[in-house]
Symmetry: D2
Subunit: 382 residues, 4 copies
């Protein structure tokens, strides 16, 4: 057995998410970065490749060149999949080309620039039969999987109310004017798409909510705001939700909440019990009951389901980090590729990572949020 070989598109020096993808793909020792087209600027791509200690002839000037060249290499050498970590507007073209040339794809969220592109990707994935993973990394935490497991077991009874929040503060001032690279493309509609904060991080909240509860948002009422003057996209969103089972909810997200770092959290209230989880202390899951003492589940601790313990690398109390959870997506993805190479069966359980469907949900969600907000914060069906 050899390691799975990864090519990267985007993610050059100075990129936050490119570095994260490289770190987390390396952790488990099953994936090897073999090539990359790290920037649309060939010079910058070369520099990045050198810093990453790649062979110079595997660092390409463009993703087109990379895909075409790699395709010519013998199977034992050429990349197995591409990781697409470009800004949102540059997801679709490389994803499409990679798939159409026989390469599996890991793509950073959101899946594409708009819903149309997302649907097209779905089609291509279907036609080619290749693997595609979207990195909604927050659902990979052990305690999120524990939460989902408890919901499935019926611990909470019928769910009545869900509150999910994703607040940050790093866009509270106009940092994009100071040349902050992370900010500049995120606030530019031509690169980020129609949503600002709601797309960048609100989609994570939405994905987390539906992942844990198994509920679907049936309608919503949103209030988007742009607080920082001169910014073109929303930097704040407050949304009322209705779910398909009659439950109610709130989703709020913001990038202007001074002092908030990466405050993603969720609470689910059912008829019999409730749960609470905070991404900033991801190893704790609080469960509260009508009629007995509250319980605390801990990553790697007592009472966790197999589902949760299967993604735990280290003993309880060693704080399982963001990177490790993120890595689980890569791990599961690599495992599927290995199974395919060996012509073994791939079960649904094996494919435990966000899919094209999740990506489409996200696009639709963003569209509906914007639609409701534009309509004067009216209820719109989803």
């Amino acid at each position: 057995m050899k390691k799975v070989k990864m090519g990267m598109i985007g993610g050059g020096t100075g990129s936050f998410i490119g570095g994260v993808h490289r770190m987390v793909s390396a952790i488990d020792g099953q994936i090897e970065l073999v090539c990359g087209a790290f920037s649309s600027n060939p010079e910058k791509s070369k520099e990045s490749g050198k810093a990453l200690m790649l062979d110079a002839d595997r660092v390409y000037d463009s993703f087109q060149e990379m895909i075409e060249s790699e395709k010519q290499l013998p199977e034992a050498v050429r990349m197995d999949f591409v990781a697409v970590v470009t800004p949102n507007h540059m997801h679709f073209t490389p994803v499409k080309m990679a798939l159409e040339n026989g390469f599996h794809v890991v793509c950073d969220k959101p899946i594409a620039f708009n819903l149309k592109e997302a649907l097209k990707i779905k089609e291509i994935v279907k036609v080619t039969g290749l693997q595609f993973a979207l990195t909604h990394n927050y659902t990979a935490y052990p305690m999120v999987k524990q939460a989902k497991g408890l919901v499935d077991k019926g611990t909470f009874g019928k769910i009545r109310k869900v509150i999910v929040e994703y607040s940050q503060g790093w866009l509270a001032t106009k940092v994009e004017d100071s040349g902050q690279k992370q900010a500049s493309w995120r606030v530019d509609p031509s690169k980020s798409g129609a949503g600002g904060a709601i797309s960048d991080i609100g989609t994570h909240a939405e994905n987390l909510m539906e992942y844990i509860t198994g509920l679907k948002i049936s309608e919503l009422c949103a209030d988007l705001t742009t607080f920082v003057e001169g910014r073109l996209l929303d930097d704040d969103a407050n949304i009322l939700l209705h779910f398909d089972n009659g439950a109610k909810g709130i989703l709020h997200t913001s990038q202007i909440c001074v002092g908030e770092e990466n405050n993603l959290n969720i609470r689910v209230y059912g008829e019999k019990a409730s749960l609470e989880w905070h991404q900033q202390e991801p190893n704790t899951l609080q469960v509260k009951y009508l009629d007995k003492p509250f319980e605390t589940y801990r990553t790697g601790g007592s009472g966790v389901t197999d589902y949760s313990s299967s993604v735990t690398r280290i003993p309880a109390g060693h704080p399982e980090g963001y990177l490790e959870a993120f890595a689980t997506i890569y791990k599961n993805f690599a495992n599927v590729l290995q199974l395919l190479k060996q012509e073994k069966e791939v079960t649904k359980a094996d494919k435990d990572y966000p899919s094209v469907e999740d990506g489409i949900r996200g696009m639709l969600f963003v569209n509906k949020v914007i639609e409701s907000s534009k309509a004067g914060q009216k209820w719109v069906k989803m």
Copy 2:
């Protein structure tokens, strides 16, 4: 100097809030309970009076009898003010009668059964020139006063977003059917008024929000729900808010959130800093800045304003409780009465307790919430 003499209307044996009023009025040693009409049932009133060790001839069969009888007593003996702690529908009549017969009034919130009554009380207070206090106790915590003080100092810059929550879980099942006394009148529209959870606890959240920020809600969009089948009033509310300065907000409150005890909390995000306070850990105020380490203010600790330290009874680390904060309203109120007796000047600072205006704000708020919700969760002006 003698203690201020209190008469109580309502609050007989088995009442939660009556007992609280008695405890907190006693703490500071400045108020003496001298008489009461503790129930509309004369027998129950007598029993309660006996348990409270009052003179039998100062325990009355009805509040009418109490007000008339006490009025005949010499000034040195008769009660100075009445505390009205009956269910909501029984606030107006005794408050009115007390005021019209020359007695000051402390009234549990909400001020009355509906807006009309509330406005009438305002008028009577104005005409009589008597003192009136409404027990929105949560604004009396030292760290809430510290928060308000920091807002006034400009610590946060222009406020952009406010999130306030008041969640409980004790009505998650139909406890009113099991004869739970606290529940039964709260879910009965003829006693509680038009609002359920939104009136009972949502008004506290609203009052807290406006007290700290100094902002006024300009419009709101509400989603009220009755989750427990057969219940007539709302037991859950999710509300989007717009403030007069352009800020946005969320207020959510519920009494069906299993496992939530008395989870009142608020976050205020400004352009320069933000704050966070939780009633269940009331001695801590978290302040977060754009560009320096986060700060934690503690009741009685370093950096607190005079405004805050003036209501602190015990050194830092001795958890200042709900009762003590509640008592501050009585203390300030009693102090005003003493000043009046001595014909001294009463300043605005002396009258640091919720007023008629606050009561009216609450009624209006409930009305608007219901109006919006009935209209299909539309925006309504406030």
Copy 3:
């Protein structure tokens, strides 16, 4: 039934603990302050009595005068018990005189200036048959009673290790030189006794530990330090402990720990489970098991024993404060007095407040700590 009548010795204006005793004795409406000798300075006593709105002829120049004069009053009028809240060196004489003249006693801890006095008090209490309560207030919290209840039920199995801490920071600098009244007598061996921090707050830690576990310290090894130059008594103590059942432990206490407010906390580790409780968040009791999710008990919440819920005044989530817990001692004490007046039976359960035995334990503890420390931190038997 009339209220129980209290006379106070010490606790004049500017006293911390005198005010606390007055507040907490008032909360439950069963005790009335009727007289006092608030200072050894007659002028100051008068002023304090006036501020407390007492009848001038019930404010005395000395405790001797108070005891003698009150004794002459008719039973319906005279005080029922005295609360002794003077500095440590002034506990013994008034306690003795009160008892010998037929008055019950509540005494602030420590019971006396030294062990000899403490034993003498024990004897007098026995001879007179009067009631005596010592205000080790921390054991009166509902969650401390819950902890004790769980130990008694065998929840933890055999106890192996106990860690108890009581840290403060207010004596980190030489505040006694700036005329801080609380500090000055506490650091003066002629008023405080042989122990500094270890006596002032270490005895609370010791009392809490033995109350919850039911274990007795069998031997200990202590390291006392005086960090602030020129101070005569210890301001810091680190102590290793052995218990009568073979368990080991640590007790550490300090008044020079900058930033610590009133950090009293305890952890008990047994063979099957462990517990953790913090006085600064007194409404939570954490219980952790070998083989199931951790449990959280909350004041007034699910799963609490009758023992715990009987001392809870308000619903869960309303933070039960220091004052309320303190008041429980008075409440239980007053109840015993009432039972005696009515010639009813007083059970052991009724007398749920610290006794003379507890006071003696504390004195012995301090002695042993000092003995060990002086001997070069050797083990000494207890």
Copy 4:
């Protein structure tokens, strides 16, 4: 530039710490695992090598074979350093042989089986001039580096008291009898050395304490216990400490504290301020002052020193995990190797990882602890 090439000794399938070393060495993309002797059992070594997807001819039957064979390979191919992750009694021989054959070494703690071996390693490192790193990983957390930086800046003034704890509960029952591989060698004196819990985790606490404060323990008084019957080594330790500057302290550690996961925490009290850090929430550093609001530093947040921010990979709020901190040691180590290869200067700042000296400190510490305990918990000089 090529990646640094690592060979591993020990750490085969089923090993906890071997897997951790592999994960953390991979994260930053600068180290490549090229060979290994993963077990003293050649069959198990082969299996492990296969699972790790290594070339079969680089998986060796013994570490002796590995060192000799790798030495023959061309420089561009052979390993640059070895990672020694065997049980404690198997550290010395491979470390010695690796160094004597020209290979740098990363060694898991403790450095050796006893002090004599540790001193010998020091000598060999000096003679050979090769690099040696010991993985006291806890000092690599950004907030630990922040703490050290604040101490160096004089934030706390003279340090008076230090409390450090490292508690676990996984050895509360006799798990070694059930074939638990992690437990079995740790409780076997012939493999673990003279110390049980005190060596396995107590040394981390000691290292952390001295790293942050810059103080040296001058003397200590220890109480070791073996709570689980039939176990040969200590599973619990309570220790009083004196430091070279006059400060006092407590170190307690245990592996029988039911419910404790990996509770390593430290508090440092100085004359002007104090700090608190908990490994289970490693991204927060609390600093408390005499005379201003408490401050909270957060990984990647405002106010952190360059020293701290240089080891932060991801933005604030993404919980920096155990693995990432661990990886910093490898990163710094690899960086030094690269500098050496390029014949660049290596500064003291570059060598920011635990050294031979740290390893020797640990051995000495364990010896002294045992000496004190055996002597009846007497003070012994260090």
